[in-house]
Symmetry: C2
């Protein structure tokens, strides 16, 4: 396999062997919206087309995606496409079963899109993996060899770069830090396990815990919880501390297993970085013991919403990284 940065450094040779450099189509499939944009090899993102993920059957969702994709391509041309999809997915079969798109269970997304694009190559990865690749290539993950890119939002997801390559695993689901267990006596998780990081750290988990403990915010949302915390509300502050504690324990576990250089955190909860970072640093101090675990750096996403699109585009431009 080829290191993506070595490949980038070898631009003249690469350009000779692969002219002309055309854009690729980057596609983001989520439970709330579908999005697509052409992405130039240099990382410039063209006009982004989005629409809400429709209710309805599998073909209704597919038809919406076709319209997004068609509009994003417009009169241009793309050499291939990359899809970052909400998981879980099956990387071998090329199918997706996003938790929040009930109509798609084992939907053959990769092959349907490839057929739509006249047989051009299509790469399918978990959306958190896509985000990790974007940060590694263009954002807060530049310069490291082993990183975990995380999204802390409605759920808690992650994607791994190890030895400078995507490590997605056989099924394409590696990096699921949200479903590592940090509280052996913890609450049940929708995944079927219990005590998962996601049951404590996710935005909805924070809000639920705060409400149970007497918080009265303007609305039952993460934004309102962050506003309360900034106003000094002790329950809201404790909700961030509790979330960060579980997150830090999960990150320490991931660093112990994967000898990570850096963890890059994006997503809605990370937007309240001023509230998240201090207790997260404290938590890492508690749960990271061995020197090689303590060396892990935790930084905020630089690309946030664009990380996934840039990441899947990078994977199409450089399939050897995948």
């Amino acid at each position: 396999m080829t290191d993506v940065r070595e490949a980038a450094a070898a631009t003249p040779a690469a350009a000779q062997s692969n002219p002309p450099a055309t854009s690729v189509l980057a596609v983001d499939v989520g439970g709330t919206k579908l999005a697509a944009a052409p992405v130039h090899p240099d990382g410039r993102v063209g006009a982004l087309v989005t629409r809400p993920t429709p209710a309805g059957d599998a073909e209704a969702v597919w038809a919406a995606l076709v319209s997004v994709v068609t509009e994003a391509i417009g009169d241009g041309e793309v050499s291939g496409a990359g899809i970052g999809s909400a998981g879980p997915l099956d990387a071998v079969a090329g199918t997706v079963s996003p938790v929040n798109i009930a109509a798609w269970r084992g939907f053959p997304l990769r092959d349907r899109l490839a057929a739509l694009l006249g047989g051009r190559p299509v790469v399918l990865v978990n959306d958190a993996v896509a985000g990790a690749v974007g940060e590694y290539h263009y954002g807060a993950g530049r310069g490291v060899r082993a990183m975990l890119g995380m999204v802390v939002s409605t759920g808690v997801g992650g994607g791994l770069i190890l030895d400078g390559r995507v490590y997605a695993g056989k099924t394409g689901n590696a990096g699921h830090i949200g479903h590592t267990v940090v509280d052996i006596a913890g609450d049940p998780c929708p995944c079927g396990a219990r005590g998962c990081v996601e049951t404590i750290t996710s935005g909805p988990a924070m809000v639920r815990w705060a409400l149970r403990n007497g918080w009265h915010g303007a609305a039952p949302t993460g934004e309102a919880l962050a506003a309360s915390a900034r106003d000094g509300d002790p329950v809201a502050l404790a909700a961030f501390e509790r979330s960060a504690r579980a997150l830090g324990a999960g990150i320490a576990s991931a660093a112990a297993l994967c000898d990570l250089d850096r963890v890059v955190i994006g997503g809605g909860v990370a937007r309240a970085w001023d509230l998240l970072e201090p207790p997260l640093t404290t938590s890492l101090g508690t749960y990271a013991g061995l020197a090689f675990v303590r060396r892990v750096e935790i930084v905020r996403s630089e690309l946030d919403g664009q990380a996934g699109l840039l990441g899947v585009a990078a994977l199409v431009h450089d399939p050897e990284m995948a």
Copy 2:
């Protein structure tokens, strides 16, 4: 990098390009004993030489290792050496700082052994990584692409094979499942963190817990605890259940992060497989939720004490796997 099994399958070509196939020296450095043996490329292990790890200063330990190595080589010849050492270690510097060999802190083991062998290549890995490679190549890990090889004994260690290659990480310490956090409110761990798998699952942790809960065994050892459990002692049985619960949670976390096919467990606690396996299966049912996590197989080591020696030998025979 080359897949070790592809390389093995290509024996005729390999033999042509690299004659004659000579043995390598496999070295095992632990807190209680030092061991070495020549290992033939086909996996045959020659006469094993062992001696207790001496007390004394760094040079006294080194002198003991020199005598073990010299006797193991005897009148033969070796093309290089592989060392599996108790950790932690620094794979970049080639130094080791085994927790239980106090005299060696940053000891330049790789370069000292290379000099002793007249500049022949020396590979240095964590002993748990060595064991994982041995099982992958010759034992219970054959046929998979992503596995965690574990040792559950005085400590709880591990080594990762991902995509058919060793993943040791930049510092050489990846795979430390014993220091993943499964109990966020758990006891302090000697590593400096708290709630680590090792604080619950290791043999000494099991014995301590049993003694605190009223167990009166023939001796404060894991063997006596296993004997009591087989006699139906409820506290001894509960100690195995508690150990297996934390182990299952840690394995579920590792599978969620690394999309593992199989976990191979060796070490003293695993010798009581009849007592460990049933509650471990139950625990995995509790803590593995997502389908790709539930697919992980947990099996017992086939090579046990020889896994490390065979593993480091395999790494010398096929450096591309490391």
